[in-house]
């Protein structure tokens, strides 16, 4: 088990390259919060608020979208085909090099 590297583009367009542990049951929303990026995570990670919406820029194979996430995105704003909720993406070795962009606040 080792840390992976993730590139996160914030809402000002600044790219932050961060290290995320794969052995702490963290998700992408929690990684953003740990690095004090402007992700609110209002619902705490229950796929109920979409404040952690992000666009996936790299072509990594991500875990399939669950129904909760799918239906929450159906009500979120600024949704694109590559939108995901950060809280529903666990940090795993496969995500090394992942590039994402934070969706606008709403």
């Amino acid at each position: 088990m080792s840390d992976i590297t993730i590139k996160i583009k914030d809402r000002e367009g600044v790219v932050h390259e961060v290290q995320a542990p794969t052995d702490m049951a963290m998700n992408l929303m929690e990684v953003c919060k740990a690095y004090e990026l402007p992700v609110e995570g209002t619902c705490g990670g229950m796929a109920m608020c979409a404040s952690c919406q992000c666009y996936v820029l790299s072509d990594h194979q991500l875990p399939e979208m669950g129904q909760d996430e799918d239906l929450m995105l159906a009500e979120a704003f600024y949704v694109e085909d590559n939108s995901r909720l950060g809280c529903q993406i666990p940090i795993t070795q496969e995500l090394d090099g992942l590039e994402i962009e934070l969706a606008p606040e709403s």
């Binding site: 209002t42 159906a74 704003f77 709403s106």
Partner: protein, 351 residues
């Protein structure tokens, strides 16, 4: 003007438990909350979700926790100003605070406890360019008086419970109800989804799925919406009202301009002592505060409420000496005349 001892801003779990801790010290409380019901996030976002880290409750639904807290604080007869947002604060000559809501309700207290969580819940506004121009001119994010829509044409957007519930309700009030949702599936309760399907068959609701409202038309007042449909392209629907119901999101709001020290969207407090802010007499407890090592947990809010009330007591009665009493010893004496206490042990001689 509403007068109380501790004015609590925010009626989430932390705010509610503050009523109890204050009540034990015979201090009266009043709560202000922007939401129409108490419970904060627990009621608004996840009432049906189980919580596993409330001490003494291996599992409890967020909604049940709120119900229990309401029952626990009932003897202390808290006042409520619900559906109003605390807007301004003013320090009066007698060292007390005057807090006024967005609807002009005035509250006066020597101590203010901000238990505002992530802030007050505001409706999420869809990103339609000219939507703010039509606010109060046909666009509403919250339905306050359904009679406004009697015999009018209404377009509702959204896929959750409130969109479904209001579609069902307004089907009998409005002359025409159109529900627009981006998907074919709805996130709301199953029986509401079925009811909307039924109403659609009966011709009482016009359902447009896989579509999104993208434009608003009108001069002085809204006259129609432009809908982008996944397959059929652009559709224009004439309407008198457009009601987007996409849930609520918390914003720190006016509290951010009260002169309090803010760090990372939270209020800095003195956690080595009493959770007081940089303004003496104003405390911040629960998720709204921050300090080194802060954990945003309900149990932290409960702890902070207890500590904060002791300090508030000292502020209100500087000359009185107070000794903390256990409820197991002293019981709970309500302001409503009720008294709960342990049953006296029955002593019986054996011979």
């Amino acid at each position: 003007m509403i007068k109380t001892d501790i004015l609590i801003i925010g009626a989430g779990p932390t705010g509610l438990f503050t009523v109890f801790e204050a009540g034990l010290l015979k201090l009266k409380t009043h709560l202000i909350d922007a939401l129409p019901q108490p419970g904060g996030q627990c009621s608004e976002i996840y009432p049906k979700k189980p919580i596993y880290d409330i001490p003494g409750f291996p599992e409890i639904l967020a909604g049940d926790l709120v119900d229990n807290l309401m029952e626990q604080i009932k003897p202390f007869e808290p006042g409520f100003t619900l559906g109003e947002r605390a807007e301004t604060i003013e320090k009066l000559e007698d060292d007390t605070f005057l807090v006024t809501t967005n609807k002009g309700t005035k509250h006066n207290a020597p101590v203010v406890a901000i238990a505002g969580g992530l802030g007050s819940f505001e409706p999420r506004k869809p990103p339609i360019p000219n939507i703010t121009d039509f606010e109060d001119k046909g666009v509403a994010y919250i339905i306050r008086d359904p009679e406004v829509y009697r015999d009018k044409r209404v377009v509702i957007a959204g896929g959750g419970d409130s969109a479904l519930d209001w579609t069902i309700f307004l089907a009998d009030v409005a002359s025409e109800v159109t529900l627009v949702h981006r998907r074919n599936e709805f996130r709301g309760a199953l029986d509401s989804v079925e009811r909307v399907a039924e109403l659609t068959k009966l011709g009482k609701v016009k359902l447009i799925t896989e579509a999104e409202v993208k434009e608003l038309y009108g001069e002085e007042h809204i006259t129609g919406v432009g809908i982008k449909h996944k397959k059929d392209g652009d559709i224009k629907v004439d309407t008198d009202y457009f009601i987007p119901l996409f849930g609520l999101s918390p914003k720190l709001g006016p509290i951010g301009n009260w002169g309090l020290e803010i760090e990372k969207n939270a209020i800095k407090v003195d956690n080595s002592y009493d959770y007081q802010t940089n303004i003496p007499g104003i405390y911040a407890i629960g998720d709204v505060n921050t300090y080194r090592g802060k954990l945003k947990l309900i149990l932290s809010g409960f702890h902070e409420a207890a500590i904060m009330c002791q300090s508030a007591y000292q502020r209100i009665f500087p000359d009185k000496k107070y000794v903390m009493k256990y409820t197991t010893v002293g019981g709970v004496e309500g302001f409503d005349g009720t008294k709960k206490e342990a049953k006296k042990e029955v002593v019986k001689a054996i011979q």
